[in-house]
Amino acid sequence: MALTNEIIKNRLVEKFGDVLTAWGEPYGMLTFTAPKEMNLRIIQFLFDDEELQFRFLTDLQAVHYPDNKGAQLAVVYHLHNLRDNVRIRFKVFTDIQNPDVFSATAVFAGANWMERETYDFYGVNFVGHPNLIRVLNVDEMDYFPMRKEYPVEEQTRVDKDDEMFGR
């Protein structure tokens, strides 16, 4: 029997119960939200379970929602079951003051740099990561550039006229 989104949802609800919220299927991909303490347990369950077998981490990144008080940073995981060709997305929200999330490097070796990139851009502190330092930006940078409050442009440039360039 093919693995459908219904079956996956039922298995997850059966194992974890009501803590998983915000179920949806935008454009066919099952999406849900989990509390941040459970993210490693959910990843491990999806990895180990014989029927679900989500053993490929496609993507790991974060989104900044400055208006959600208490849940400004969302870490989004995309997992893929290669055998049955099913994808799933789940999000964990964390407060920007204490952005600690458990690291997935124990399960997926590929999460190493993806988490470093997320730390570099958003400041999410992955607990249990072997080497959480900046990967893409300059090491001396002291702010997290992808957060919404920072501009994209180079600030020290003097020859670009802001009015003409529409900033």
């Binding site: 893409l136 930006n137 300059v138 550039p145 920072y150 501009p151 994209v152 442009e153 180079e154 600030q155 440039r157 670009k160 360039f165």
Partner: protein, 186 residues
């Protein structure tokens, strides 16, 4: 038998004016040195991104850059004449460009290829150096994103004109020293 083909579009570098006699020739030293320098420029391809691929196309057989004397791409800055900076230079890479420039021996020229090296290009962001002329003096700018190989060859020809017109004293002159100091280079 295959007919012989004479390549009569090749331009020979002319002998500079001077006094010729049996077994000797007297001419201006600068002219001879400039002629030799301009027709044997050894570039250092400092290729970081997409312009690097266009440079590879320029160096390949269709748009041969070797006919301008750049047969040997010197990858060591100590042995090259022309630093061709191709591609976006991020702020993380800036000190490295400066270091490579400092390792070059006089006379040295710099060519900024592509919009990113000239002025930051389409990447007006916090991590991109908005033009390498913020850190090193540039002689020729080649705009384009990426510039066509013909444009790159045009840039190399402009460098050749600069090399020809330079003379032997420029690198020791006061103006040059002032230029270097404005970039913080001794």
């Amino acid at each position: 038998m295959r007919p012989v083909q004479y390549n009569n579009t090749v331009k020979f570098a002319g002998i500079p004016e001077g006094y010729m006699g049996e077994g000797y020739m007297a001419t201006n030293f600068e002219k001879v040195v400039s002629l030799a320098r301009k027709n044997s420029i050894w570039p250092l391809p400092f290729a970081t991104s997409c312009c690097g691929i266009e440079f590879m196309a320029t160096a390949a057989s269709h748009y041969d850059i070797a006919r301008f004397g750049s047969e040997r791409m010197s990858f060591s800055p100590r042995q090259c004449d022309l630093l061709m900076v191709m591609g976006t230079i991020a702020k993380k890479m800036g000190p490295i460009v400066k270091q490579v420039y400092l390792q070059m021996a006089e006379p040295r020229w710099v060519l900024a290829m592509g919009a990113c090296a000239c002025s930051g290009g389409i990447f007006d962001s916090y991590s991109v150096l908005q033009g390498i002329d913020q850190i090193i003096p540039v002689d020729v700018y080649i705009p384009g994103c990426p510039p066509r190989p013909e444009a790159v060859l045009d840039g190399v020809m402009k460098i050749q004109e600069l090399v020809n017109a330079e003379g032997l004293r420029r690198r020791n002159s006061d103006q040059y020293r002032e230029l270097m100091e404005s970039y913080g280079i001794q």
